[in-house]
Amino acid sequence: MSETVKKFLYLNRRAPYGTIYAWESLEVVLIGAAFDQDVSLAFIDDGVYQLTKNQDTAAIGMKNFSPTYAALGDYEVKKIYVEKESLEERGLTLDDLQHLVWEDEDEDWAEKDSIHLVSRAEMAAVMEDSDVVFSF
């Protein structure tokens, strides 16, 4: 059965925990990943805070969903774009974020980086290139 594969872009602009957007986005991405579409994730503005490492929610009584981002590679979600300008405005670097990887079966399951650090102009091109944008 041949179907048109569309390029889906999930656009994340909210910090985790303060609102439900980040978690809802992750849920939708994981559900959508089951449909074999071409999936990309974009993190701009406060969305970059979703990917920080060492999140520990024990004291606020909420579920820590940050470990789930590490599972995205297993769902063939390997295009994760993080905007440089958004990191800089927040005093962050890639070192503050989780190291997310996917395994390339064509290269003996070599681990490859999922996160791509892009400029605002490059992010605009990613958006322009997508067929459908889901905003969170």
Binding site: R14, Y17, D45, Y49, T52, T57, A58, E89
Partner: protein, 102 residues
């Protein structure tokens, strides 16, 4: 009469912090919590605003919300005090009233 001002929104997304700081009287306290904790971090574009607020007011940040978001206390701007939930209660009790900037 002193007031405890609370800010629970990200300074990058809402103007709650900006507006709050414009109304804080000398000797008052500002508590950053939930997504408001991002304003307490070093090296951000809002750091100058917090530093100038520290000249006249006491600024606090809720530790559990920092930790949840992946930031340790050493990332917090000098002069801001990290408090836990018991400290939040103490601040509410010490001040005559609490004004929330949603």
């Amino acid at each position: 009469m002193s007031t405890l001002h609370t800010v629970n929104k990200s300074p990058f997304e809402k103007n709650s912090l900006d507006t709050c700081l414009g109304y804080v009287a000398g000797g008052s306290a500002v508590l950053l919590l939930e997504d408001g904790v991002y304003a307490a971090l070093k090296g951000t574009s809002v750091e100058p605003k917090i530093k100038s607020a520290l000249d006249s007011a006491k600024v606090y940040v809720l530790g559990p919300d920092l930790k949840a978001r992946g930031f340790s206390e050493d990332r917090v701007i000098e002069g801001i005090s990290v408090v836990d939930y018991a400290g939040f209660v103490d601040l509410a009790a010490e001040n005559a009233k609490v004004q929330a900037w949603l």
